[in-house]
Symmetry: none
Amino acid sequence: MIVRVKPEKPKRGRPRSIAARRAILSAAANLLEEGGMGAVTMEAVAARAGVGKPTIYRSWTNAQELAMAALMASDNPGTQVRQTAVPLEDLARQLRKVVGKFTTKRGGQIRLMLAAAEQDSEIAKVFRNRVILQSRDEGKTLLQRAIELGSLRDDIDLEVALDMIYGPLFYRLLIGHKPLNDAFAKALLTTALRGLRGGAHP
Amino acid sequence: MIVRVKPEKPKRGRPRSIAARRAILSAAANLLEEGGMGAVTMEAVAARAGVGKPTIYRSWTNAQELAMAALMASDNPGTQVRQTAVPLEDLARQLRKVVGKFTTKRGGQIRLMLAAAEQDSEIAKVFRNRVILQSRDEGKTLLQRAIELGSLRDDIDLEVALDMIYGPLFYRLLIGHKPLNDAFAKALLTTALRGLRGGAHP
Amino acid sequence: MIVRVKPEKPKRGRPRSIAARRAILSAAANLLEEGGMGAVTMEAVAARAGVGKPTIYRSWTNAQELAMAALMASDNPGTQVRQTAVPLEDLARQLRKVVGKFTTKRGGQIRLMLAAAEQDSEIAKVFRNRVILQSRDEGKTLLQRAIELGSLRDDIDLEVALDMIYGPLFYRLLIGHKPLNDAFAKALLTTALRGLRGGAHP
Amino acid sequence: MIVRVKPEKPKRGRPRSIAARRAILSAAANLLEEGGMGAVTMEAVAARAGVGKPTIYRSWTNAQELAMAALMASDNPGTQVRQTAVPLEDLARQLRKVVGKFTTKRGGQIRLMLAAAEQDSEIAKVFRNRVILQSRDEGKTLLQRAIELGSLRDDIDLEVALDMIYGPLFYRLLIGHKPLNDAFAKALLTTALRGLRGGAHP
DNA sequence: GCATAAGCGAGACGGTACGTCCTGTCTTATC
DNA sequence: GATAAGACAGGACGTACCGTCTCGCTTATGC
C-alpha cells in the first residue's frame, strides 16, 4: 500500500481549509449534542466555528446534511466484532454492542436524524448505510457462516432473517414502547432461533 | 354514593369553534399531503383555513403537533381485522393490511412524523400509540389466542415475539433498504413461526 | 336660563355598572401613569379592572379615548384663580399655577395625549378644551377686565395676545428646549406687556 | 501632532445598501403621506420597498423612528430666508414661510410625530432640532442683529422673546383652536413688538 | 311577580403587526 | 483567491392587541 505523504501543492491563500472543516464539524457536533437537530443552524455553526456561512455552504448544502456529516464524523465505526469459531456467539456479542451504542445519547441523535432528512438525499443514504445498516451487514456475514456450519437452516431467506433480528432493536429505539437492553437482545436472538411455533410441530 | 359521570367544568366564556378546528385540521392535512411536513407552517395553515394564527396556537403549540393531529384526525383506524377461529391466519391478514397502509403516501408521512417530533411530547406519545402501536396491540390479542389454542409455544416472551413481527415491518418502512410488501410479510411470519435454528429440525 | 337635568330616557334592562366604570377609569389612569399611553391597552385595562372587554368598548371606542377620559377624570380642574382688583396680578398668579401643573408628571401625559389622538375626534376636542384651553379661557376674562380698567391697550387683538402668553408655555412643555418654570412665566408676562420694540419708539 | 480627520473604521463585511435605504425611506414617506403615522408599519414598508424586514430593523429600531427619519429625509430644509438690512422685515418674511410650511399636510404630520415618539429618544431630539427649532434658531440670528441695530430693546431676554414669537405658531398648529395663517403671523409680530401695556403709551 | 332586556365576566374569534431568527445568496475587505 | 464578516431578500416564528362575537349569569324595570 502506498501512502501519499501530502503532495503539498503550492497553494495560494487557502491554508485554512482543513482547519475550517474540522472547526465546522466540531461545532456542529457540539451543537447537536447540546440542543439536538434544532440547534444545528448554519448561523450557530458559523458563529461557533468562527467561520463564514458561505464557507459552510461550500461543503454542505443544508443544516441536515451538516448535522449528519458531523454525527458520522464523530462516530467510531467500531461495532466490529472479532469472529470466533461459533458465529452465533459472535452474533450475540455483536447485538449487545449495538444495544450499547443505541442506549447512549447517540441513540437519540440517530433517531432524530432518520426522519428529519430528505429520505432520498445522497447523504441520507450514506448515513443509513454507515450508521444503521453497518451492523446488519456484519450480521449477514455471521449468519452466512452459521448456515455454512449447519448451525442454521439452509432454507431461510437471509434478508428476512436479518430484519427479524435487527428490526426489533431499531423498533424499540425509535418507538421506545419497551426497554432496549441486553436482556431484550438475548431473548430476541433465542426466540428467533427457536421459532414461535407450538407443540403440534416438534 | 352518587357518581357524577363527568364533572364537566362550567366552561366560562365563548366555547371554541368546532368549525375552526375542523378547518384547521383539514387545511393542515391537505398541506401535509401536498408538500410534506415542511409545508405545514402555521402561517400557511392559518391562511388556508381562513383562521387567525392565535386560534391555532390556542390548540396546538407548534407545527409538528398540528401536523400529527391532522394526520391522526384523517386516519381511518381500520387496520382492524375480523377474528376467525384460526388466529395465525388472522395475523397474516393483518400484517398484509399494515403493509398496505405503510405502502401508501401515508407511510411516508408517518415516517417523517416520527423523528421530527419532540420524542417526549404528549402528542408524540399519542401518535405512536395510535398510529404505530395500534396494530401491534391487535397482534398481541391474536398471539394470546394462538397460545391458548396451542398453536404457539406457551413459553415465549410475548413482547419479544411481537417486536420480532412488527419491528421488521417498521424497519423496512423507515430505512427502506429492502422492499416492504406482502411477500416480505409472509416470509417474515413464516420464518418467525418456524425459527432459524438448523440441525435439530432436519 | 332653564337647565334640563337630563331628559332621562326610560331605559330598559340592566343599567351600566358605575362600579365597573370607576374600576376601568382607575385602572386606565394607573396604567397611564406607570407606562404611558402605550400601556393603556384595552386588554390590560380589562384585566386590571376585572372587567370584560366589551364592557369597556360599550363606553369608549378605543384606547386613546379611554386614556383621555381617564386623564380628564383624574384631573382636578382647579387652576381657577380668585380674581382681585388687579387682573394683571391675577394673570401672573394663574400662569404660575399652569406652570406648576405642567411641570408634574401630568404634563408629560398631556403632551403624549395631544398628538396621539385623532385630531378631530370628539373626545380630543373635549380634551383640548378642558385641559389645554381652560386656562386660556380664564386668562381671556382677566385680559378683558384689564382692558376695561385701562391696564392694557384697547386696540390689541385679544386672541393674539392670549396665544402670545399661553403659546410659549405650551411650546416649552412640548418641545422642552428650555426650562418651563416660574421665572420663565414671569419674564414672559413682563416682556409681553412691555413689548420688544427698542428706543426709537419710547 | 497629526490629526486624522475621521478614523473611518475599517468596515468589515458587505456594506449597507444605499439603494435599500433609499427605497425604505421613500416607501415610508409615501405611506406616511397616504395614511399617516398609523400606516407606517414595518411590514408595509418592507413590502412596498421590496426589502426584508430585518434590513429595516438593522437601521431603525421601530416604526416611529423610521417615520421620523422619513419625514426628515423628505424635508427640504429651506425655510432659510435671505437677510436684508432690515432684520425685522426678514423676520416677518420668515414667519410667513413657517406658517406656509405648517399649513400644508406636512404640518399635520409634524403634529402627529411630536407626541407619538418616545420623548427622550435620540431621533426625537434630532427631529425637534431639525424640524421645530430650526426656524427658531434662524429667528435668533435675526433678533440679535435687530438688537445690534437698535431696532429692539437691548434688555430683553432673547430666549423668552423667541418663544413669544414661535410658541404661538406652534400652539395653533397643535391645538387648532384658531386659524394659523399669515394674518395671525403679522398680528403676532406687531403685538409682540409693541407690547400689550396700555396707559404708559397713550 | 315574573318576563324581558340589557349589562356583566369571561374568553374565543379573524386579523394585523410586531420583533426575532434562520435561510441561502451576495458583496466587501483582509490575509 | 479563498476567507470572515456581514448585509441582503425572504419568510416563518410565536406574541400582543385589536375590535367583535358568543356564552351563561345577573340585575333592574315594566308589563
